[in-house]
């Protein structure tokens, strides 16, 4: 399984998936900063990461995915620092032979990230 992990302050740019033979399904998820937090208007969210630990925890999740599903490739970008409203803070791309495992792996990855990867947010008003 190929993996690519990017933690960066740069805006997320769309890149076409690199499909290889036998791969039938690509699932891409974008998490986008919404304009309100706890009912109040915000301008941006500032993301802080414990970067070394975050990288390690992502790698553990990638390994758990590889052990469960026949996934060909995962690319994940999580922004750190300030992300303006309506911009993506997260992009996950999962490529697999069939859609069931691509969707399952993508949702598992996001759920696990939200439980384990040390990244925190702070609303910027």
């Amino acid at each position: 399984m190929k993996t690519q992990l990017t933690l960066s302050p740069e805006p997320i740019t769309e890149v076409p998936p690199a499909i290889s033979d036998g791969m039938g399904a690509v699932v891409v998820f974008h998490g986008v900063v919404r304009g309100t937090e706890d009912g109040e208007s915000i301008a941006a969210i500032h993301y802080e990461a414990n970067e070394a630990m975050a990288r390690h925890q992502f790698e553990l999740i990638f390994t758990a995915i590889e052990n469960q599903w026949p996934v060909e490739s995962i690319r994940l970008v999580h922004r750190v620092g300030e992300v303006a409203v309506n911009e993506a803070s997260l992009r996950v791309e999962v490529i697999a032979p069939h859609r069931a495992e691509a969707f399952a792996a993508c949702q598992f990855l996001i759920d696990e990230m939200k439980a384990k990867v040390p990244i925190w947010k702070r609303a910027v008003r």
Binding site: G31, Y47, E48, A49, N50, A52, M53, A54, R55, H56, Q57, H78, S89, L90, I110, M113, K114, A115, K116, V117, P118, I119, W120, K121, R122
Partner: protein
């Protein structure tokens, strides 16, 4: 022996500190260390039950036995995405 404790996210607001060093007894566990830290920074005690604890880059439970030079991270629930 001596260990380093790093605080993350709003735990830094509670402690007004990014990182501190502590002397702990040989054989001290992560739970012992957490108790000592809460004594030093009482505001952290309010977050006792929701505090996440790592040694190096791995999560550990309270019975994990510390070694000299360990770097401990204490932080609130994570919020990536």
């Amino acid at each position: 022996m001596k260990v380093t404790v790093k605080f993350w996210s709003y735990f830094r607001d509670f402690t007004e500190c990014n990182e501190t060093s502590l002397e702990v007894d040989d054989g001290a566990t992560l739970g012992d260390l957490h108790s000592a830290v809460m004594e030093q920074f009482p505001k952290l005690a309010e977050m006792n039950n929701s505090t996440l604890k790592a040694v190096g880059v791995d999560y550990q439970t309270d019975d994990f036995v510390l070694s000299d030079g360990d770097e401990i991270s204490l932080f609130p629930p994570v919020q990536g995405g």
